[in-house]
Amino acid sequence: MIKIANAQLWVHDQDEALAFYTEKVGMEVRADVTVPEMGNFRWLTVGPVGQPDVSIVLMAIPGPPVFEPETQEQVRTLVAKGVAGTVFLTTDDCQASYDELKGRGVEFVDQPHEQPYGIDSSFRDPSGNHLRLIELRETATT
């Protein structure tokens, strides 16, 4: 059986991303390991409390020797433009989650609004990654 364990987001600054996902979104740290023999590569993952088997990897955008400077810059720019990917989150109560996150200063793009599949909203992380926050209707399938 194949399951999803981690999915990765590029972030501009791991400390900033860590603070955002834990303090503002309310996730927990799953792993924060720095490996000196791999050029201080930092494996940093967070995940929703109560869903221990799925994590988001907050990956720094590497320079040489992993990415040459041009690629590094392109990835940085794509993340900043908000086109590097989307994470879809669900919640029991979209309005309550919106109020909570908004109160902590999260930048929302869409306020909670009715959709055929439920109540949908979306926000950005500091790097520009797009996250949707959806209260699915009972009957909806994803």
Binding site: D15, A80, V109, I134, T141
Partner: protein
């Protein structure tokens, strides 16, 4: 301190257009969101996203109007006002130029997508955007 690529500030302006298109928003508000002067902002926005901020805002409003035409039975005037446009004449002209038909003709042409599949809102917004065209004839529209 966190490294912030310039495009991140421009994205804030784009997000503002997507989030608050229904308000009397204009390019100055978008420039403020990006923290840039008006002239510099318009140039940089176009470089990053391939379209002027005015064009993007109007396109977003037309896309939202098209979605409302497909999914509601609200009047054209009501829809025009509810996407942040004030002049129904300019709205109809821009809509025709973009979609190749009047708002009412468009409504009868397209059944709601929701009847066919459950499409996430973000997909509707992104893939529903009309092809870019020039809006120089109605520079007053987005401000109006």
């Amino acid at each position: 301190m966190a490294f912030v690529p310039p495009a991140r500030h421009l994205l804030r302006a784009k997000d503002l257009a997507d989030a608050r298109y229904f308000e009397p928003l204009d390019v100055d508000d978008m420039a403020d969101a990006a923290g840039l002067s008006r002239a510099h902002f318009s140039r940089e926005f176009k470089r990053a996203f391939g379209e002027s901020p005015h064009g993007y805002l109007l396109t977003r409003r037309l896309e939202r109007a098209a979605a409302l035409l497909r999914s509601t039975d609200r009047s054209v005037v009501d829809i025009c006002l509810s996407v942040g446009l004030q002049s129904v004449g300019s709205f109809t002209t821009s809509f025709k130029r973009t979609y190749g038909m009047s708002p009412t003709a468009y409504r009868t042409e397209f059944p709601p997508a929701a009847e066919q599949a459950r499409v996430p809102a973000c997909v509707v917004r992104v893939y529903g955007l009309p092809q870019r065209s020039t809006f120089r004839e109605d520079s007053a529209t987005a401000r109006g």
